[in-house]
Subunit: 276 residues, 6 copies
């Protein structure tokens, strides 16, 4: 992953440094000065982004000593020490905010995901994400979902097929749509179809569609869908998933519950850098 | 702004298109097919990012007709039509998610900011942001704060000075810190100092510091700070600002109330694209 | 696709122009001079890359008139006119080689693919590509395979799973390998397993592996594999596929025949630009 | 060369890794696992690209041990060991295909070039390349030509002048063309003129053109050209050079024989990575 | 600063190396050959850019030993040794010109700045730069100004406000202009107003403008401006500053004297690399 | 050239706009406001960079009307109108400084070059540049030299050979150096050798070196060199060329006089934008 992470972190540091760098630190802190500190949780949550934070510090000071105490996926208690850092004071102060921005954001997503995951424990359903991610951060945010115990929906427009209502309208029906797709995509590309009602679901099942998205189905309707499907396809429940209803959705017997909220609206987890 | 926006939007589209583009749409929708639709609010909130969304559609189809009905800063009612779009079906379907990801994210920030702004209406205080922004999106997120009625704190490490506790420790006191800064930064760079208590505040006032950040002060202490300052410096209240306490903070008489939450944790505003 | 094509073509033009541009043309041809010509096949083959070539000319002269006579997928006879061009002589001369380099390269791949496709006509097998593509050109080369009548294998390491012998060795067997994959990848990711013999094939079938790659199987062994599989999985024949043996491989009843040759070794198709 | 190589190799790795990286390897192989193996020739040929392949492995695992056994320019026997590798299993598996894609492609070009070079041994002629290279890889492909024993024609539109028939037409003759060039290019830029017949050749010689390209001359006509030139200019034979006719062309006494085939159509050389 | 410097230096090296690298050195100097030398001043001046030069050599040879003898800000005598270098001959020869181009250019700016600084010693005025910098080098050139003893004006259009005559015309006066600015910019953004005469100056003082630029004022008028201002604002003298008049300008009592000349027209300082 | 110019100008605009764009203009000038003006010379000189300046304005406002009155190469009188501009006030104000920075810098180089060119009028010598250019601007600065009436030395390390004293030392003499080069570079690459005395010059002539650089020769020695050479090679005079000695150098009969000064130290030409 390091090859994927580094250009994102480097760009973030340069965004923060602008044209003149950290003018406060450069004016005050001598070039050789050293410092040390610890990344600590301020709130409870699921940790994600330790390697990303480490990369920020390493880019600002290649000689920094970053010692990981807790790895991604750890469940943080308030005050838990995530990592200790020792190195150039200039480098650490310059990278601090960028490192924390990543760490808090990704841990926020992992924490939000994990909350949903725990709410459906015991069911066979899995929490999955969507393409409703922050522009530029899809790789990292989808990683955070996995760290939170969720699974990933497709990563982009190109790695899987998702046939929505507009596609069906353009094709003139589910059947011509799925046939057009099967003619053109490779053997390792899976296709999912979004359905609005049970009639469309039945049509998909007849066409041996592998994955079917139930768009804004009521719980009642979901149960019927599960029954009708009888294991012949993977069913994804989508639309208005909340902490309140996620358990009930899982109980209907669907395989997947997707949430855009866990990536586009998860609050950041509060993590800070305490200097020694 | 268009020169600043375009590379960010282009990168977001390419992130979503990956190596093969929109394989669903390309398989199903004919190259010349046209479509039209409208961007509509699903929830109430403050609109932000219309030009960014337009850029996404224009990059995917340079001939698209994007007609703005509501401009950034508008207060949206549910179902309000933000813009109408008409153009190549392939282009619009390919750009839809990217356009919405920006629009929902930025409107979410503007909405969150505006909620705080309204809560302190009548006071002289202003809501300001922090550097706790999403990596890669600082330009856009700080714009969204302004659209929400807030003002911007510094944009990066290089355009203003913010002396924090660590800097003070390294300098050996507030006075040497502020002197080091004054020796090295230009005449258009303002300096702000973060203080933990009233003694530090008094020291800053004696040193004629222009802007002072009250870090995690209680309401009581803030009032004392305002009194002690008596207009000789701009006072920023920082730390744990919530919808519950923001009004009370404003009442203390501080000039600025900064919130990281409005950028790092604002939930996305629900906006969708309805095809005709 | 235009958004994916343009940066590649722009980079190719800049590679050719270096620091000083087309010094021959700039010295000899006046700035306002116009010219016209036609892209013509010199040999028979399958056309691919017309839009890519057009992009090269358009980038060098935004006002160029590029009229397509034959679209990608056309079967070219020698001398067939592919497109006519009219515009600035400087722009056309500067872009000529870059446009042709793409057009000849991609048409070469489409032609090679199509030759294989024709040799197996009548069978149910399909010709597919591999990841043995030219660095930087995967998007375009895989497109050329489709234009040639082939289908695409995965586009990269991230859009599908391919478990090879080394993975099996690290996992300690096919079963733990496939289980590890199923635990970690999303519901739209397909997994293929490479097998060396019939025992491994049987194991895969028992594990309900969806796609199985028969690595360097003899024709005899392929037939046994097809029989044993009996439609329960997609079978890909791989290794040393040539014009001589491709028909016989298809006759064995495998579903897919993959060839690295069609991308890494297909000779360019001879296409030229005739000036009027 | 390392500064020129690294960005190309890094881009190729990122192209293959996409948004999620090597999902197969990451699911199956533990982070600390080590592996080792050897790059081995599967067919005979001229080796090229060892340092490029090493760069791919080093980028994926900075701690990899890559020991070169054979350097670029070595003549490979089947099974010859090119290099041994030891390092992180994840890194090596992730970089394997990218490393091999470069190595096989460049060795293919070196091998093709070298075949032509051997066919004309004993003559004074040299094999040279053209600008018919793969977009993005000109630096590496022209290096491979040199490794194969060939020499390089110009690297782009800007480092030397090549006056073709269209330039002559625009200038109104060879003389005004060459004069325009001499007025505008620097003292270290050489000019070559393409001629279609002996009359044009004579005109070039009278104008003291340093290098003359004989475009599609018959062997008979080439011999006359050599005689007429009598050493007063460098003569390049161009057009439809094959393994069958290259020796005869060299025998005519021309100085240079250029081939686009060696870069745009050379089949990849089969090289693989054998894990221990 | 290293994070800001490296991409600029890397781009400069690649600009010089083009597509084929240092063909002279690669043809003549063996790969393992070592060399050593010293960077030495040929003329007296103020040194700037040692770390930038070191970066050039390190990028070309990561194992180079670069020992700094004199740091940025040192006043060079002719023949002074700035640094010693030892490493790969290929790397050092390839990077030599790029390293020197930066070093001579930046030292030229520092030297020019310092000459002005010395001419006004004893006054309270400071020499400052402008945005008249070389495209792409603003970070480095503004650093050189500081090394020369000057201070920096704003770094770009975004980090401070400068209201010029056109802005005033568009706003309909100084007052509406300054009010528009105060409504929209953050609390850490300072505003400067350019005035043409004393009436405008008075208006600015009444509006409590913090910084005022006296555009092309005569010495006499400057003195009046200083008197009128009486310390209520920072005054910047701008326009046609030369070695001849800078002392007199400083004597008027202005706070800042800005010069575009020190960045856009400072002659390079002659520094060379002497090989041992 | 437009393809080469645009990325440089775009980067310069983004450098100036930073993260927030032109905050002064955006606060004061309404979005639809129009303005017009003229680019005018403030001093006499040779114009260069009109198309570059136009590109800056077009990027900031694609609808801008930029009418060229004087083309590159024109000799400017003070107050001469170079171009008129009409368009969005925001776009024009934002791009003004960037456009002028290019225009003044390039015209400065053209002017300096032209001054040398005029001083040697009547001689057969030509003024040429060096690789002592500003990092990132070699393409444009070498263009400015041509516009000033000079010719270009090589553009980089890769388009021509220049054998210096260190190369000769590493090779063990001029002969082995030139032979090494001839073995490895292509037929369109010229080689120049730097000599320190007449003995080396004679050796070069015996080796039929095409171009010879006389390094820091006295006028007397140059004359001897010209006599000894007798037209058998192109002679370049290099080292400490000034307005005072350039005519005398030209009189010695050398072919080329190279100056680093015209690129690294030419003062900017004063050109401004007068708003209507």
């Amino acid at each position: 992953m390091q090859l994927l992470i580094e250009p994102i972190v480097r760009a973030a540091l340069l965004e923060d440094m602008g044209r003149a760098g950290d003018i406060t630190t450069d004016a005050i802190v001598a070039e050789g000065a050293m410092t040390s500190g610890a990344l600590r949780a301020r709130k409870a949550g699921r940790l994600c982004g330790v390697e990303v934070a480490a990369t920020a510090f390493r880019l600002a000071d290649p000689a920094v000593k970053f010692e990981t105490r807790l790895a991604d996926g750890a469940d943080l208690e308030p005050n838990a020490t995530i990592a200790t850092i020792r190195g150039s004071a200039r480098g650490i102060l310059t990278a601090e905010r960028t490192a924390l921005n990543f760490l808090c954001h990704l841990s926020g997503i992992a924490t939000a995901t994990n909350r949903f995951v725990r709410l459906i424990e015991g069911s066979k359903a899995k929490i999955i994400d969507t393409r409703k991610t922050t522009p530029g951060l899809r790789t990292l945010e989808k990683y955070a979902v996995r760290v939170g115990g969720g699974m990933n929906h497709r990563f982009g427009l190109d790695d899987a097929v998702l046939i929505k209502d507009n596609h069906i309208a353009f094709a003139g029906g589910i059947k011509p749509a799925i046939e057009a797709v099967r003619r053109s995509v490779g053997h390792l590309v899976k296709a999912e179809v979004e359905v609005d009602d049970l009639a469309q679901l039945r049509e998909c099942l007849d066409l041996k569609v592998e994955v079917i998205l139930l768009d804004n189905f009521s719980l009642e309707r979901m149960r019927e869908a599960v029954k009708m499907t009888a294991g012949r396809a993977i069913l994804e429940a989508s639309g208005r998933v909340t902490e309140e209803n996620v358990h009930a959705i899982a109980e209907t017997g669907v395989d997947l519950i997707s949430s855009g909220w866990i990536t586009h609206s998860a609050p950041a987890l509060d993590i800070g850098l305490d200097f020694d």
